[in-house]
Amino acid sequence: MKIAQEIRAGNVIMNAGAPWVVLKTEYARGGRNAATVRMKLKSLLSNQGTEIVFKADDKMDQIVLDKKDCTYSYFADPMYVWMDGEYNQYEVEAENMGDALNYLEDGMSAEVVFYEGKAISVELPTSVEREITWTEPAVKGDTSGKVLKPAKIATGFEIGVPIFVAQGDKVEIDTRTGEYRRRV
């Protein structure tokens, strides 16, 4: 059993007696240190989509499915093709890629998840390192990391980074929250 804030895009959970793949999660801080997790889901039985929300510490069953370490190979519209260590290729629907699209780059490592033999989603590592391709010029002085400015990585995904981070810097990003962790 996991708690909601541990569930990540690519996981499969049971909801109303059916398996649903988690396409996207959004963690939000409420008042008094409470937090919630919004999830975008897709039914593995009907392909129907839905959105639900949990308290961050709500307990839930995660279905343990087969997974394989793979690397991203290429895009064959509308499928993203991943390859395992034995050069087997697996296609994952664009819609099921979830947050992986935010960080996608050639040769990227992730776990491809299988349900009844079919590749259904991708689970990212909890953090990735990416280069900042755009941000306002770095400002010296504030080293607290609390004052943030917008920045983009190669996919166009936007994150908040401390003001001392410059274009071209590599940063570690928490893929569960989409938040900056540190400069590498």
Partner: protein, 368 residues
């Protein structure tokens, strides 16, 4: 469905509202306000509170249709859940009550509406989460569905509580009579109310008011605000030491919710804190400054910025909020005359939206 038409709900519903008092009085203040307004609209409410003592001064008059019950271990045993269950601010009613909800669902073939009433925030994610279902994944109520309800400032949120008789009460308010009844002078001083935690900039505010052009009377609410002011005045090395000048200070007793509104309506500038008093200040339509509930990892900074964005706060009001909340050093000069238009505009925008009790009632009906 609009509140102007009676009856509001097609059938009279019984609401079980659960409230855990964590600190201060904001939780119970919001829950009482909700329960009382539901009852005034013809509903019945059981308010389960783990520490109900504050209601004795907050709402001594009570409200027909509201039954306050002490929420202790085992107090909900043998209770049949009502038509609507509200968990205020994420407090869960406990396994026994969850089992009772499941039992009632099996017996009647229909689940009571089960609503998680969340904290107030102006952040954009609130609109994305408001109204979403939340399947119960574990425990005796596994398989049932709760619904998240977010108060808020925009039409895509749950709105803010505003009583049906609010306008009439405010229109009938007599400032002079209220001040006299409170034993407060009405000598043309600028009146400023203070309800706060312990803002680091408080000594600077006191010094600023004392050095102002116009005489000011600070009306300090009982409890933490009073203690903070007295501590600031007693600090012989602080900016408020030996204050002289144009500032007079009156310490108020604990006020009922109704009388706190009167205080806000009587003052030219209001300092409010937390959630409930912020909402009251917005409805009052007077210039105000908000001290947000501080969170240990500074999560409240983003919440304050989001609120100021929604408020369309001018630079002077933003800077003052940053100083008052300890986000920036110092405290710029207060400009209540400039901020009055902001408060009026905010109230006007909020009034154009459905208020919270109406929306919550609709959600309850749709969730059964």
């Amino acid at each position: 469905m609009h509140l102007g038409h009676a009856p509001y709900y097609p059938e009279r519903m019984l609401w079980d509202i659960f409230c855990k008092v964590i600190d201060n009085h904001g939780d119970i203040g919001v829950c009482w306000r909700l329960a009382a307004e539901l009852a005034r609209r013809g509903e019945r409410a059981r308010l389960w509170v783990d520490a109900p003592a504050a209601l004795a001064w907050m709402a001594p008059q009570g409200q027909a249709g509201v039954e306050v019950r002490a929420w202790t271990a085992g107090s909900t045993a043998e209770v049949v859940p009502g038509d609507v269950v509200v968990e205020a601010f994420g407090c869960e009613p406990g396994e026994a009550f969850a089992a009772a909800i499941a039992r009632r669902t099996r017996e009647r073939g229909r689940q009571p509406a089960w609503i998680n009433l969340e904290y107030l925030s102006a952040e954009p994610w609130v609109e994305r989460c408001h109204g979403l279902p939340s399947p119960v994944m574990a425990g005796p109520a596994k398989g049932l569905v709760k619904r998240f309800f977010y108060p808020g400032f925009t039409p895509r949120t749950g709105g803010l509580i505003r009583e049906r008789d609010f306008d009439a009460r405010q229109a009938a308010f007599d400032r002079t009579a209220w001040l006299r009844a409170r034993g407060l002078p009405d000598a043309g001083e600028r009146l400023v109310s203070l309800f706060c935690y312990e803002p680091p900039a408080l000594p600077r505010l006191l010094a600023q008011l004392a050095a102002g052009d116009a005489p000011t009377r600070l009306l300090v609410t009982a409890g933490r605000a009073q203690a903070a002011v007295q501590a600031a005045l007693a600090d012989s090395s602080g900016p408020a030491a030996g204050l002289e000048g144009r500032l007079a200070i009156s310490y108020l007793p604990l006020l009922t919710q109704t009388d706190y509104d009167h205080l806000l309506w009587a003052c030219d500038l209001n300092f409010v804190r937390g959630e409930d008093s912020l909402v009251r200040a917005l409805w009052a339509g007077r210039p105000f400054v908000w001290q947000i509930y501080p969170q240990h990892d500074d999560a409240h900074h983003a919440k304050l910025r989001a609120f100021l964005d929604w408020l369309r706060a001018p630079a002077s009001l933003r800077a003052f909020h940053e100083g008052w909340n300890g986000i920036a050093p110092g405290l710029p000069a207060a400009e209540p005359a400039t901020w009055a238009a902001v408060a009026q505009d905010a109230r006007q925008r909020l009034r154009a939206q459905p208020e919270l009790v109406e929306q919550l009632g609709r959600t309850a009906l749709e969730s059964q």
